[in-house]
């Protein structure tokens, strides 16, 4: 650390003007990044990690401003620099990669043209050479057939491919510093690994410095030299990646580390020290209606989607079009069972058919063929649009992925929780409904005084609790959980996972837990099914499948999880 750092942030304070006065999003932080160094900024939502990076390249939105402190980048004062100077620095000296790569690209401009725009802006190419250089940039991020991809629009590319384009865009002008803001959030584990490996390789090759902004401590530790932990706008700890895992100093870092699911932990280990043990006085599962056999038995389940017909309209009109292609099989003949009181994990990457499967089991979607036996009855034979009227509806409920999007913004928490009861007409009368609602709120640990609030007045964790309370309102036998914690911070996820486990013990339900996070599945599930391209690759107990996988694909998934240094 003798040479002056490439980026030196000192005493930086960023303020936002809001309706309720000025809010400090970043409070007097110091961060420095050396030449060729990779630094992670880790924190949960609202920690100010993204705002810090926006302040560095000065793309804060209108309401935000740097109130105090200095940012110097290889001797240039970025806070005081003119807009024209900043424009030359952005993209040429400092570039950014964002999360949600598809939205980060202009939807109606060819990706090649978007790379050209940057090259031309920074005079790295002339009109004559731009195309060639853009294709070269695509080649460098290992996009297959870059000549063709030049003419592709973002919607024609997969998420991982779009992220590669964004990386190509960011690295096109060979900047000295790359800021990657949650570059792999929302991507599958194997894609995440490929993208991260690519970023690290390309930046090392060029001797670039990198700032990786992430909420995932494991990812930070696996790929970075140094880790900066932020909480509520302050830097609470800065240390070497290996060091921070071995000896976390600050209580917040410890809490964050504890909450990150890892191999060899139990669910309760995720909670901070001194938290009440789950299932207090576990008046264990009230005996459910006894029934023979498994609760759910799925046999040879298939879902097909027709492919769009080929050929132009005129050709089709003339009857000259080719025959429509074979229908696409999203779910291709799978079979499994769920025992009473069991949690079954459904694992796979995007497009593997796990969501289609969960929609069919929940009877929101009709299967093409196969049987779904629930408590011995073939509920697959009841059409999805009439299932709401079936007595089975109340016995199968669902918790959805995004706690915000799955709540009606015009309903209070109470109305949302009571929604299934009102529709199924189990309880009548205002007082009785309110009593039941309060009982449910207590079950899921939602303070009763929050029941009159609207979703936008609740935090992410509280909204997740409302979603769970709604799902258990009718005492279902089976709850299908579709990535219920994917949108939550790790510490909130820890609490929600414990809550789910606790509820299962108390109410004796069965769960189907759909997730792409193998570490979470390992903690919560008794048995696991691994899916790929609509088929089951492997199934068995969680220990077997995730501890000693047999299928090559499961092994691949497991190795793709970032492993922090031990």
């Amino acid at each position: 650390m003798n040479a002056p750092p490439l980026l030196d942030i000192r005493n930086l304070t960023v303020e936002f003007a809001t309706r309720r006065g000025t809010v400090q999003a970043v409070k007097a932080i110091d961060i420095s990044v050396g030449k060729g160094e990779t630094v992670a900024i880790v924190g949960e939502s609202g920690s100010g990690k993204s705002v810090t990076s926006y302040a560095v390249v000065r793309i804060l939105d209108r309401a935000g401003r740097v109130a105090d402190g200095s940012i110097s980048f290889s001797g240039i004062d970025l806070v005081g620099a003119s807009e024209a100077q900043m424009r030359d620095i952005r993209g040429r000296e400092i570039s950014m990669i964002f999360q949600n790569p598809r939205a980060a690209l202009n939807p109606i401009r060819k990706v090649g043209r978007q790379i050209e725009d940057v090259l031309l802006q920074h005079v790295r190419a002339t009109r004559a050479t731009a195309r060639e250089k853009a294709i070269e940039a695509l080649e460098k991020v290992r996009i297959a057939r870059p000549q063709e991809r030049y003419d592709a629009y973002p919607f024609e590319l997969s998420g991982g491919m779009c992220q590669r384009v964004v990386i190509a865009l960011a690295l096109a002008c060979q900047p000295q510093l790359l800021i990657a803001d949650e570059p792999t959030t929302g991507l599958d584990v194997t894609t995440q690994k490929a993208v991260m490996d690519l970023i690290v390789e390309l930046t090392r090759e060029r001797g670039m410095s990198t700032i990786l902004i992430t909420h995932d401590l494991g990812l930070a530790a696996a790929y970075c030299d140094r880790v900066v932990v932020m909480e509520k706008g302050r830097v609470v700890e800065t240390a070497g990646a290996a060091e921070i895992f071995r000896h976390p100093q600050h209580p917040y870092t410890r809490k964050l580390m504890k909450a990150t699911p890892r191999v060899g932990m139990s669910l309760h280990d995720l909670l901070p020290e001194g938290a009440p043990a789950s299932g207090t006085a576990a008046a264990s599962a009230p005996a459910r209606a006894p029934g023979a056999g498994p609760l759910l038995l799925v046999e040879n389940l298939v879902k097909e989607y027709p492919r769009p017909a080929q050929g132009s309209f005129l050709a089709r009109l003339a009857g000259k079009a080719e025959k429509p292609a074979e229908p696409f099989r999203a779910v291709d003949g799978i079979g499994f069972s769920v025992e009473r009181g069991e949690t079954l994990g459904l694992v796979g990457e995007s497009g593997c058919g796990k969501s289609t499967t969960s929609m069919m089991l929940n009877r929101l979607l009709d299967p093409t063929s196969g049987r779904i036996l629930f408590d011995g009855e073939d509920i697959g034979a009841i059409p999805a649009r009439r299932f709401a009227a079936s007595p089975f509806r109340r016995r199968i409920q669902m918790v959805f992925q995004d706690p915000t999007d799955s709540l009606n913004p015009r309903f209070t928490a109470e109305r949302a929780i009571l929604d299934p009861i009102l529709r199924m007409g189990a309880i009548r009368g205002g007082a009785a409904l309110r009593a039941r609602c309060e009982e449910l709120a207590q079950l899921v640990g939602l303070p009763v005084e929050l029941l009159d609030r609207f979703p936008h007045q609740l935090s992410g964790g509280q909204k997740a609790r409302v979603g769970i309370a709604r799902a258990i309102a009718l005492d279902p036998d089976l709850v299908i959980l579709d990535e219920p914690t994917a949108a939550l911070d790790v510490s909130v996820q820890a609490v929600v996972l414990n809550l789910l486990d606790d509820l299962k013990q108390r109410l004796g339900m069965s769960y189907i837990f759909v997730s792409h996070d193998l570490n979470v599945v390992r903690l919560l599930c008794d048995r696991v099914i691994v899916m790929r391209s609509g088929q089951i690759v492997e199934q068995g107990s969680a220990e077997e499948v995730l501890g000693a996988p047999k299928a090559a694909y499961t092994k691949e998934l497991l190795t793709a999880i970032p492993h922090p240094p031990a």
């Binding site: 390249v57 793309i59 939105d61 209108r62 900043m86 424009r87 030359d88 620095i89 952005r90 993209g91 040429r92 570039s95 950014m96 964002f98 949600n100 939205a103 980060a104 690209l105 202009n106 939807p107 109606i108 401009r109 725009d117 940057v118 802006q121 920074h122 629009y153 919607f155 964004v166 865009l169 960011a170 132009s312 309209f313 005129l314 089709r316 009109l317």
Partner: protein
């Protein structure tokens, strides 16, 4: 692209059939008796009955409908009783006048509204944003006949800059050879500068009147749509990669923001085309709007039916054009063809 057009055309067939039936029925339930109107106040009941049977109005409705449709298939919209001419000839004469006025009005409106909306969004909360709000509110709250009369009063009566508001062309000039029916275009085709200037000076005031009225929806839509796009992730990416603000706003934001604006433009255009009766009245403009209103007052069926049908077909054609434009702007739409 062709298949997209083909598919859109197919979906318009039912709506055109619907329009034919509805206009026929609507004109029949209108109050007023055509035969009595044309026979004059002093006519005897026998004379009225005679006219009625001559017009075929004594036939049952289904029979009338069949004869209407079979004439329609041959391209015959019937004869106007007020002008004594074939409705097709009347419309062919008057539609270009309306189209020219509306098009020019819309062009003026776009030339002001699009930059104003974009600037208002880029400098949100500045004086230009407030100006945008004032212009839009004023434009939409002043009735067109009022702005029209005000313009005539100021520019013709007081300043004397504009010619008398009496139709499309000075009575002493002769129309250029008809090519498109749009005088501005035809005079240019004929290379007749004097006629062009005269036609322009006649059309300017009514076109501005229309433009003032249609400013509001276009400005507001442009501003809202620009604001949404400027907050999008890809604009952030463009900024973070150092693109100039001209590139970011012009190429990245504006083209994306145009999608909803194009839809609004189509709606405003078709609305103006049929609804600018008041402007046509104020400026003695021989357009279709005033033609239809006069026919309506006289219970003259044929022109009304012809007018509504023409408008419906124009509307369908316009929507098709917008769909094609959408496909040009947005590659995602092109895929669905």
């Amino acid at each position: 692209m062709l298949s997209l057009i083909g598919q859109r055309l197919k979906t318009t067939i039912p709506s055109v059939i619907g329009v034919i039936i509805v206009t026929f029925l609507l004109t029949r339930v209108l109050p007023g008796d055509t035969a009595a109107y044309f026979a004059g106040p002093a006519a005897t009941p026998q004379a009225i009955a005679e006219i009625r049977s001559k017009l075929g109005l004594d036939q049952p409705l289904p029979v009338q409908f069949v004869s209407y449709v079979s004439a329609l298939v041959k391209g015959d919209l019937g004869t106007s009783l007020t002008t004594g001419q074939a409705v097709t000839a009347d419309l062919a004469q008057r539609l270009p006048a309306s189209a020219e006025l509306t098009l020019l009005g819309l062009l003026i409106s776009m030339a002001i509204a699009l930059p104003l909306g974009v600037l208002a969004a880029v400098r949100q909360g500045s004086w230009i944003d407030h100006l945008c709000r004032i212009v839009a509110t004023a434009g939409v709250s002043l009735p067109v006949f009022f702005t029209g009369l005000l313009l005539v009063y100021v520019f013709y009566f007081i300043l004397g800059w504009a010619p008398a508001p009496l139709g499309r062309l000075d009575a002493f000039l002769s129309e250029p050879p008809r090519v498109t029916g749009l005088l501005l275009v035809d005079s240019l085709v004929a290379g007749d500068g004097e006629t062009f200037r005269a036609a322009l000076s006649q059309i300017l005031l009514p076109a501005v009147t229309l433009a003032i009225f249609s400013l509001a929806p276009i400005t507001r839509m442009t501003r809202a749509s620009m604001l949404a796009v400027l907050g999008a992730d890809f604009v952030r990416t463009a900024r973070a990669s150092g693109l100039s603000s001209r590139k970011v706003i012009g190429t990245y934001a504006f083209r994306n923001a145009m999608l909803p604006v194009v839809t609004t433009l189509g709606m405003v255009f078709s609305f103006l085309l049929g609804a600018n009766v008041l402007v046509e009245k104020v400026f003695a403009w021989p357009g279709v709007g005033s033609y239809a209103v006069e026919a309506l007052l006289a219970s003259d069926y044929a022109p009304i039916q012809g007018f509504v049908l023409t408008m419906a077909i124009l509307y369908v054609a316009l929507n098709l054009l917008i769909d094609i434009l959408y496909g040009v702007i947005d590659p995602r739409v092109r895929m669905e063809g």
